[in-house]
């Protein structure tokens, strides 16, 4: 148990930033969802690290990590269904070309 809390937090910060770069820079809608998954994992890592280091008897961190798992699964299912539906109608998965609602 000799790992400082800061190691986990800094690693999660780096993972979050990499995911953010992926979300902002990638063209493909599926690749954007991959970046969001990285960001959600970074958040989960923070939740679990704080649970372990602050008060392990209270299960708050793990309980909310489980909720984040559920939200991530729902987000991926709906997001990928949207991408597949769009692909079927418009024959594209490039986020820039989906500008129907842009004004």
């Amino acid at each position: 148990m000799s790992i400082p809390l800061s190691w986990y937090l800094l690693l999660a910060a780096a993972l979050f930033s990499i995911g953010l770069y992926g979300v902002l820079a990638r063209k493909n809608a599926i690749a954007i969802l991959l970046g969001i998954e990285l960001m959600l994992n970074a958040v989960n890592m923070n939740l679990v690290a704080f649970w372990r280091y602050l008060d392990p008897a209270q299960m708050a961190g793990q309980a909310f990590a489980v909720i984040v798992f559920a939200v991530a699964a729902a987000e991926v299912a709906v997001g990928l269904a949207l991408v597949i539906s769009v692909y079927r109608r418009r024959k594209t998965v490039v986020a820039d070309e989906l500008d129907l609602m842009k004004w």
Partner: protein, 170 residues
């Protein structure tokens, strides 16, 4: 350097390298496979943090379901962007700037937390984390409401995904 620190550094290096490849590699299928590596590294960290249940859930739900879902989506939408043209937007350097700014802000905040260099205490005697998590998730004094809301959310997502991706016959 203790064994745990070495394990952490190895898992952290694997996570960072594979995450970087997820957002930069050209072929989307390879990006999805690198995501599996990243998720596995995070599962190792959960095991290091003694969150046993979450480590298993990470393997089963994230790698077993979510990553496979990504691979299916890549295969179903492949024809379009196969390796033609750049995979990043023309103003990707803005994304680099934003990412670097967020990273620096987060590092600044993390290092300002009081007691951030603390190490973990030993788990309290007789604490079964899996049992405690299960009790916390269904106890009315704890997290039964978020738990039930999550189940409703999953049901809604299931119906929504079937409706959106289902074939509409006219």
């Amino acid at each position: 350097m203790t064994v745990e620190q070495i394990l952490f550094l190895l898992a952290g290096a694997v996570i960072l390298v594979s995450a970087f490849l997820v957002v930069t590699v050209r072929k989307l299928m390879h990006a999805a496979l690198w995501l599996v590596v990243t998720l596995f590294g995070v599962a190792v960290l959960y095991a290091l943090l003694q969150a046993n249940f979450l480590a298993v859930v990470q393997l089963v739900v994230y790698i077993g379901a979510i990553a496979i879902l990504f691979i299916f989506a890549v295969m179903l939408t492949r024809k379009e962007m196969r390796d033609l043209g750049p995979q990043t937007r023309s103003n990707w350097w803005v994304a680099v700037l934003v990412g670097a700014a967020v990273l620096m802000g987060l590092v600044f905040v993390v290092l300002a937390i009081p007691g951030v260099e603390r190490t973990a205490q030993v788990l309290p005697e007789g604490l079964d984390t899996v049992q405690a998590l299960g009790v916390a998730l269904v106890s009315p004094n704890a997290y039964v409401l978020p738990f039930e809301v999550a189940s409703v959310l999953l049901l809604a997502a299931l119906i929504g995904a079937v409706y959106l991706a289902g074939i509409i016959k006219k």
